[in-house]
Symmetry: C2
Subunit: 405 residues, 2 copies
């Protein structure tokens, strides 16, 4: 094996979809040394056990981790059992409450259960920062604190904004980036992955490693995935997400709802389709030789394949074709049970079917003729809909359910 060729091959795979790399030169050097000494790189991704259901936005750095794993590197998946009690202030406009240890334990289990869908857990070392942070004493803390100045900390975007707005920033929040940095010293990380908004924290690891006399870690910042709306970042609370444990048809349907522009983003950071091929698809759409809808269906199938398997990907593709493209009702439709005998049109769309978050979107759809009951458009926003078992309700092109009673 020509080491330089292999370094370039790995670098090309690893650079895909990365928003910022500090620095490419250092990563190249580390990969070379790793190959020469036959010592895998230690790659760190830390999460706080605060959340629950993972979506494909969370999966972006996790899938990058998987690439390192596939290339033979050592993945240390760090669960911030200790730091979760502080709460990462990143991007928050207010001080976060500390988590109880019960919540933490429950969240970790949910997290690990879902991780299996992305990482090779046999080759993943799960580490908990409570194991070393719990042992730190005041003297150690002071040594860490002495390596940073107040000015450095308040430079951080979310701190400076909150300070300028007169909102409280607890001193405990200054500890979060420092402890995240110390984690890198503790596990001897060569590379740390994170979202772009984590850059400040990731760089603190470099500071502390450098001060400790070790080689600073490479910081690899992944983009934050836009949600289905193409505007906000993907998040559960905004209901613009694709959960990695969602059913194939739901995943597929959600992919179909994104804009053509957003599709290329998802191709790059949420699938393994080679970038050359993505380039060809994009060119085809641009010159009119490929219909964007076809690219989107392919994207849907790719994403279902990642979190389920190829067969499910194909089946979801067929299902969508039948229901939406061929308007064939002879397929499984999502079912929703409604007890009432009669429901107002807007209430049906917003409260019963959760198709919309607010009434104004529902109102617009109805007046534009997108609301159909058994394929008949209902354009009166005040219409009372008689609920019957087996009736099919559509909202626009991509939302469809069968009502049961």
């Amino acid at each position: 094996m020509d080491i330089n060729v292999e370094v370039q091959r790995q670098l090309n795979i690893l650079k895909r979809g990365v928003e910022e790399l500090i620095s490419e030169k250092e990563l190249e050097k580390k990969l070379k040394k790793s190959l020469e000494t036959n010592t895998p790189l230690i790659v760190k991704l830390g999460i706080d056990p605060t959340g629950s259901d993972l979506h494909i936005g969370h999966a972006v750095p996790l899938r990058k981790l998987k690439q390192f794993q596939d290339l033979g590197h050592r993945v240390k998946f760090l669960i911030g059992t200790f730091t979760a009690r502080i709460g990462d202030p990143t991007g928050k406009s207010e001080t976060r409450p500390m988590l109880s240890s019960e919540d933490i334990t429950k969240n970790i289990q949910t997290y690990l259960d879902q991780l299996k869908l992305i990482l090779d857990m046999e080759k993943t070392e799960v580490v908990y920062n409570g194991d070393w942070l719990e042992k730190l004493k005041l003297e150690d803390v002071l040594k860490l604190l002495s390596q940073f100045t107040v000015a450095q900390m308040i430079q951080r975007d979310d701190f400076s904004k909150r300070l300028a707005a007169g909102k409280p920033v607890s001193l405990v929040e200054f500890m979060y980036p420092i402890l995240q940095g110390y984690d890198s010293v503790a596990i001897d990380a060569d590379v740390e992955l994170g979202a772009t908004e984590q850059t400040f924290n990731l760089l603190r690891g470099r500071d502390l490693q450098r001060n400790a006399g070790t080689e600073p870690q490479v910081c690899m910042m992944m983009p934050i995935l836009e949600g289905l709306d193409g505007v906000e970042k993907m998040s559960k609370s905004l209901n613009n997400y694709i959960g990695i444990t969602e059913a194939p048809n739901d995943m597929f349907g959600k992919v179909m709802s994104i804009s053509d522009d957003l599709m290329w983003n998802y191709y790059e950071v949420a699938t393994d389709v080679p970038m050359e091929e993505v380039g060809r698809l994009k060119a085809g759409v641009a010159d009119g030789s490929i219909h964007p809808m076809d690219c989107k269906k392919r994207l849907g199938a790719e994403i279902v394949t990642i979190y389920h398997n190829e067969e499910e990907g194909r089946k979801a593709y067929d299902w969508f074709e039948n229901v939406f493209s061929k308007r064939n009702m002879d397929v499984d439709l999502p079912e929703v049970k409604i007890d009432e005998d009669e429901v107002g049109a807007i209430d049906l769309l917003v409260k019963k079917l959760n198709f919309f978050k607010g009434t104004s979107d529902a109102r617009r759809l109805i007046t534009q003729g997108g609301f159909k009951v058994n394929d008949v458009a209902v354009k009166d926003v005040k219409a009372m809909i008689k609920i019957e078992a087996g009736m099919i309700v559509r909202a626009g092109k991509k939302k469809i359910v069968k009502i049961t009673k």
Copy 2:
């Protein structure tokens, strides 16, 4: 005993010379409760074992502590073995280096040796904050940090000035006031003494005690004593101090060199002369019935009495009378050995006798006729003085030495 009368008596003694009291009402309440329950108040004074020789400026809060002791309260004299490693940033324009533990041990011994001159050591509990601070773990530190915001900290005068000037403020310095406050929780202080510049730190103890559900300590801020020059605060490095271990005649002579105005300050915070009497002296000087020099001699004798004894006070008084007022040479004079046979007038005053820090003051004295060798004025600043054993050199009215070879 009428408790209310006793409370007022104690309050009057304790309020003497205090610059700020937070708050008098609370101190009154605490004194009352102390008398009612027959439980002495716990009075804290903390020092960092950074310095060496104590001067009568350092003695101001120590003498206040002695008053509490004399009134039957419990004195906890806190030595900041732990915090000394951080260095209190108060009033400093730069981050202080940490002290080595050898320096700390040496400084503590020097400190305790001198304390005996002021406090009743039998009734003084000496405590070391390393005993509890060393045990704090990261989790405890986070709990402390969570009680303060960044905005609160950077309000502190010396922090905000340094930040505004773009000078570094280490994060570790934020810990100093917090740990000083935690010390008050740890030793359950009812009252903490400090200099006015310590107000910010002392108040943090109130915050932490309140949050811990205990009654906040009373903060008693003592003024910072001006040095002999009446301009700068008394300090060894400015050579404007009276050390508490200095010889009686030296102490006395230094007191005689202060201005008439400054004398009343010294009377109030550096002696036990009842304030009514100080008032009478002041009035006498004002109406011309008492010569200020007589008040100053009395002050000199009072200060020598405090750090030596009454007899030494009287002897220093007599010595000064003989040498300066009666110009009687038949007394012990301070002796200085000079090896050279001939020394320039300015060099003699500045380098050999240390009467002045700079040449310009020496030059002025000479031209004004204040420099006398064997009672003959030498007004030529370029004069070479022939050094002979037994010769008497005077500089102004209060500096006199006998030369030996």
